[in-house]
Amino acid sequence: MSLKRKDLLSLAPLSVDEIRLLLETADSFKEVTGREIKKVPALRGRTVVNLFFEPSTRTRTSFELAAKRLSADVINFSPSSSSVVKGETLLDTARNIEAMQADIIVLRHPSAGAAETLARGVKSSVINAGDGWHEHPTQGLLDLYTIRDRGLSFEGLRVAIIGDVAHSRVARSNIHALVKLGAEVRLVGPPTMMPFGVEKLGVRVYYNFDEALRGVQVIMMLRLQLERQGIALFPTIREYARLYGLTAERVRLADPGAIVMHPGPINRGVEIAPDVADSLSSVILDQVANGVAVRMGILYLLSGAS
């Protein structure tokens, strides 16, 4: 079994075997990140370009660290400091980067499908680091890795995903992968944040948080994107926090030993109570740590010669 893909654009088209390969490969890199010398020569001489059209610290740093630990050269490209502000198109920017012998381009872009467009236009491998409301496959994989790392198996696993599902690429990647792996996925949020017809993906929709939490082993909170709330999807933040915020009391409705996840950055006191974020059931910082190992695995698997 090997990954016969040039790019990693979304989790939707991946087979179960491909997902398992990605997770198992991350295992080896988890060992590497635990060493005193956290570096291996696997990607020596390769160039990885982080092309980020949206602000991001966590994902960009995680990719940068992953590439560096594989001994690749890393360049960070962000539009504010580049010719994009002068009107260059995405593809032209990427072709220029490619002309400088970039082997892998990591793209974050506000438009859904940007990674796919880019992948068709360049010979370099493209990794989608988030495209609009579409997908964020590496976040999805690190979430899966964290779940598996906690000794939970996916078959029959009960997972609740809570928040603004409609505008969440993290939710989309997780839904595709979890359903494929045999998990029971419950989506929770106000109707204004639930995409129309989402049940077709094989999930159940709940509008009552407490009801959805019963028996779940994984509570996956989504970040309330306060910067997007100009479009009034709910009356007040206080009301949202009361109806869909995760409190210690609510955690008790879930399976004993349930884990709490969040892709970060967290809004304390809005979607998650501070004591829950800092509790033993929270695996939020494990997600961040695992992210580096998972991305090392993805970079490694996509780095085959073209």
Partner: protein
């Protein structure tokens, strides 16, 4: 277990008894050269080397009534042909659960051929610490070195043609213990 009729023509060059005796002799040689198990550690190279390392440790334990720490090394990330391959090989886990610094580490592999695997293994090992010494034990040395590497302990010297394939088949992977040469 596969029937020999399903394979290419294979010639058995070591049988189960030969392998057992070679392992016993190498265990004795390791003890003799290092004057016991003091500061000794064995690291097997995945996959065949790991099985042999476990057998050696067991034998050493029987001879000396002392245990020797054992580790498993996956050398994939240190290969020198990674940038040439179209698809990257499957990674397995490296697990060396003891500090190798200042230890005498015996690397164990099944077949010594070009020496490239051993070069990669030494790089991998040194990333984990600074051993006092690295020694090399192999079940079969088939020649055709491409790097200046030599084994300290050899089960059998096996003259081969370059295009022939040597396989060490062990019980641990569901085969009858034997070493075979496959004709191309």
């Amino acid at each position: 277990m596969m029937l020999s009729g399903e394979r290419q023509a294979e010639r058995v060059v070591m049988d189960a008894g030969d392998i057992a005796r070679a392992v016993t002799r190498i265990a004795h040689e390791i003890l003799e050269r290092n004057k016991g198990v003091q500061a000794l550690g064995l690291v097997g190279i995945r996959t065949g080397g790991v099985y042999l390392a476990h057998r050696l440790v067991k034998r050493i334990q029987e001879i000396e009534s002392a245990s020797v720490p054992i580790g498993e090394l996956d050398i994939t990330l240190y290969r020198d042909d990674l940038s040439l391959r179209k698809e990257q090989p499957i990674l397995r886990k490296t697990s060396v659960p003891f500090d190798i610094s200042d230890k005498i580490i015996v690397l164990v592999d099944d077949v010594l051929f070009t020496g490239r695997t051993i070069r990669a293994a030494m790089d991998g090992l040194i990333d984990l610490g600074r051993p006092a010494e690295i020694q090399l034990a192999v079940l079969v040395d088939r020649g055709h070195r491409q790097l200046p590497i030599k084994a300290n302990y050899i089960g059998k010297n096996l003259p081969t043609a370059r295009e022939e394939k040597v396989q060490v088949l062990l019980e641990e992977s569901g085969e009858d213990d034997r070493v075979v040469i496959l004709k191309p």
